[in-house]
Amino acid sequence: MSEILLKIDEKEVKAKKGMTLLEAARGAGISIPTLCHHEKLEPYGACRLCIVEVESRGWTRIVVSCVYPVEKNIIVRTRSEKVDRIRKMILELQMAHAPDSFILQDLAKEYGADKNRFEKEPSFCIHCGLCVRYCAEVKKKNAVGFVDRGIRKEISFIPEIASKECWNCKECFQLCPTEALQAAYVLVEALAFPSASTESVSEG
């Protein structure tokens, strides 16, 4: 594999062709915040929190590091006034839905985000898609998916699959950055197979 040299935050970084900026940065011990990234999953590029500034051939632009492939001789800045400003806005937008998420609260502190900037719509889910993608890509079960689109988009378990697969798995629970999944799962469980949930209560 050919090596690619680039500069991230003033540090010379060696990367392999085909790596993303995020992988290269993390490999060099430079941290970039993410919400929808998971090393076992295909890059998704949805939360946009991992944006960085890339300078190449004299011009600078904002790119999304979890999907941007490394290029030789580019200069990457993981923090800048603009990057921080946009990250702050992204966090504020997400906190309208999940104000109590610990991950979001920690990041909000770092970027000075105000969790009360936008009117609350506590749906809890921030559409990172970790549960959906983990179930599809790693477990290959597709028991949970996205339904609808735009601002009406939400995650939903497919009762026919969930009733067979989820009870003994639940691996997606710990991935959820807002603990929304658990709520959604419990809700569907209650609706779709009420007998199972009563059994678990009596066993517990």
């Binding site: 890059p43 590029g45 949805a46 939360c47 946009r48 929190l49 944006i51 904002i62 790119v63 999304v64 999907v67 941007y68 492939p69 603009k82 400003r85 946009i86 806005m89 992204i90 937008l93 997400q94 309208a96 839905h97 936008f118 009117e119 921030i126 559409h127 898609g129 996205f146 609808d148 689109r149 735009g150 601002i151 009406r152 988009k153």
Partner: protein
């Protein structure tokens, strides 16, 4: 039909078609595009067939149902050739007279002609009507002569000769060079040079490559791609096949909206005919080049007009865009090099190959060559599809072709480029239309939507409307688009309801920056445009809404009140009778007064008040004048003296 195996056989076949056609034989063409279909062209067609038979003209007159003529405001349209006599807004009951008078006796039916609104002169011929006269129809022009279900009609006009030329006289590289030289830019929105896109795919590694037609036109009010695909499907197929030859692709897709049933039907018929004639399939025209085309019906998502979302949908998954850091002409459909161009772009290709890049580049501006089809809608006299050379000033399109604003109203803005385009004010009416010119002015070419707005339109509400559309149509994947627009829509809605706050404009600007810089796809990145362009040119309207709770266009319902001017009211009682809320008090010779508590602001009184009185009016940002005292309410009329 046996296959045509060489360019020579094609020319022989074309000759045989032409030899059976007498150019002097009377031919009635009836517009049967979707717009005319809606205004009853099917019934007119039945009536024409019936009358031809009834009046004993079978065999003497040809009848052809064509695609869209573009002058949709006046449909259904009949053109009688070879004289080119044009009749508008035809109803089935007009047909017997047309057949007996014009076809049999060569007399004109005056009442069905176009009347020039200014000179009041009746115009007989299509080419003399300002709507047509001021256009330059290179791509759309054949629509009026072709029955889209007949490949022979297309062949009679020289169809597939560009394909024959490309396959027999040119190498793929030469085709590519010609298209590059023509500087044909993508008609779907981005304006990316087609030749460079094709070259990228041609040079990309891999044996399997795809060419794709984007017929997922979804802008509100836009229907140029629809009309082209419905009216002249073979021109798109021919362009696509030439492109495939240049790129080295053997498989093409047409991604067309399921909501366009006639386009789906006609393009499927066209593919079948092209296969039977040997313009598609194996060893096309004996050249050794193989190419097949499949139709994929879209499931009604606006975002699937975005190239990567379209490809994801073609792969059978939910139509969500993907990052474009590696272009889809290198890694596209199923990870293969894929050239995606819009319907109109493909339809330009046969012209460029047939007539050459030098011919093509004589039309247009320095950086935008050829023509562009616009869908001219909104507050405009001549609604329809217009094709003009790039570089035509907006004013010419709106006034010379479009006939200006109806009802004596004033022009306020023109919205170009679809939902993520922008609004351009009167000061920019002399702007020449072109990709870069429109972008520089804060709007965009988009796929060619052009919505004219008059003085009664509130620009904040226009921004809110388009944002609402985009919020609905976003795929919902990335945060800056989904969440950013959710908040932008909330703020804009509040402003139009009089709940705007100090700081709203700045917050909207900040949300816009996040979307432009960080959204995943073109839909998200351009989603703030409706807001940004209206703010740029109509900031005073935003400020009036926020600071004075006033809607200058008197349009935002929650910021206006209706009232009756006591000096003008003649107590005719019309408004009182029509008011659905029973909010109007009055009586015989008694000046009418609106009870503001009961008024639902439906606007009925304003609409029904006779224009000779014009007593019902609107106010915004100021209180309604107090009702006139009871003692002065009675109108004393002078008795006519005998």
């Amino acid at each position: 039909m046996s296959r045509i195996n060489s360019p020579a056989e094609l020319e022989a076949f074309r000759k045989s078609i032409l030899s059976e056609r007498d150019p002097n034989k009377t031919c009635i063409t009836l517009c049967s595009g979707s717009a005319c279909h809606a205004s009853g062209s099917r019934e007119v067609a039945a009536s024409i067939q019936e009358e031809i038979e009834k009046q004993g003209l079978n065999g003497e007159v040809e009848f052809r149902r064509t695609g869209c003529h573009g002058f949709c405001e006046r449909g259904p349209i009949i053109v009688i050739r070879p004289e080119e006599i044009c009749y508008f807004q035809i109803k089935p009951e007009d047909v017997p007279e047309i057949i007996s008078e014009t076809i049999k006796d060569k007399k004109i039916v005056e009442r069905l002609l176009y009347t020039d609104p200014v000179t009041k002169e009746k115009i007989i011929h299509e080419s003399e009507i300002p709507f047509y006269k001021n256009q330059g129809r290179l791509v759309f022009g054949s629509n009026v002569r072709i029955d889209p279900k007949s490949i022979n009609d297309y062949l009679a006009l020289g169809g597939y000769s560009a394909l024959a030329k490309a396959l027999s006289q040119m190498t793929p590289e030469q085709v590519l060079e010609e298209v590059k030289k023509s500087n044909l830019r993508g008609r779907g929105g981005g304006g990316f040079p087609a030749g460079i896109k094709w070259e990228g795919s041609r040079n990309a590694p891999g044996d399997i490559k795809y060419v794709i037609v984007n017929a997922d036109e979804g802008d509100p009010g836009a229907y140029m791609d629809r009309s082209l695909l419905e009216g002249n499907p073979h021109s798109v197929l021919e362009g696509l096949t030439i492109g495939a030859f240049a790129v080295g692709s053997h498989e093409g897709y047409i991604y067309v909206r399921q909501e366009y049933p006639l386009a789906v039907e006609n393009v499927n018929i066209a593919i079948k005919q092209a296969e039977e004639h040997g313009f598609l399939g194996e060893n096309i025209l004996g050249s050794g080049f193989d190419f097949i085309v499949k139709v994929h019906r879209g499931a009604g998502a606006f975002v699937c007009g975005e190239s990567t979302a379209l490809m994801t949908a073609l792969e059978g998954r939910a139509g969500e865009p993907r990052p474009k850091y590696i272009r889809s002409n290198v890694v596209g459909l199923w990870g293969r090099p894929s050239v995606l161009n819009n319907v109109e772009t493909w339809a330009n290709v046969p012209l460029i190959i047939n007539k050459g890049a030098d011919w093509f580049t004589q039309y247009g501006t320095e950086k935008s060559k050829g023509t562009k089809i616009f869908s001219l809608v909104g507050k405009i006299v001549n609604t329809g599809l217009v094709e003009v050379p790039m570089g035509t000033p907006l004013r010419d399109i709106i006034y010379n072709i479009g006939g200006g604003i109806p009802g004596g109203k004033k022009f306020k803005a023109v919205q170009t480029g679809g939902p993520s385009g922008g609004c351009l004010p009167e000061e920019l009416l002399d702007l020449a239309v072109g990709f870069d010119e429109l972008t520089k002015a804060g709007s965009m070419m988009g796929s060619g939507g052009m919505i004219v707005l008059d003085e009664d339109t509130c620009m904040v509400d226009v921004a809110r409307y388009f944002l609402e559309f985009l919020t609905d149509e976003s795929c919902g994947k990335c945060v800056p688009c989904r969440e950013g627009m959710r908040q932008m829509l909330k703020i804009l809605t509040n402003i139009t309801k009089g709940k705007g706050k100090e700081g709203d404009i700045e917050l909207l600007q900040e949300l816009s920056e996040t979307a432009i810089e960080a959204a995943l796809c073109a839909l998200g990145k351009s989603s703030p445009n409706p807001f940004l362009s209206t703010l740029k040119y109509f900031r005073d309207e935003y400020e009036a809404h926020i600071k004075e709770k006033r809607c200058p266009a008197l349009s935002c319902k929650e910021l206006i009140s209706y009232y009756i001017d006591p000096k003008k009211c003649q107590a005719c009682g019309t408004c009182r009778k029509k008011c659905p809320a029973e909010a109007i008090d009055g009586g015989k010779n008694l000046i009418h007064i609106i009870d503001q508590e009961k008024c639902t602001k439906c606007g009925t009184c304003f609409e029904v008040c006779p224009s000779r009185f014009a007593a019902a009016g609107k106010v915004s940002g100021e209180p309604v004048p107090p009702p006139i005292p009871e003692e002065s309410r009675t109108i004393v009329r002078k008795r006519k003296e005998k």
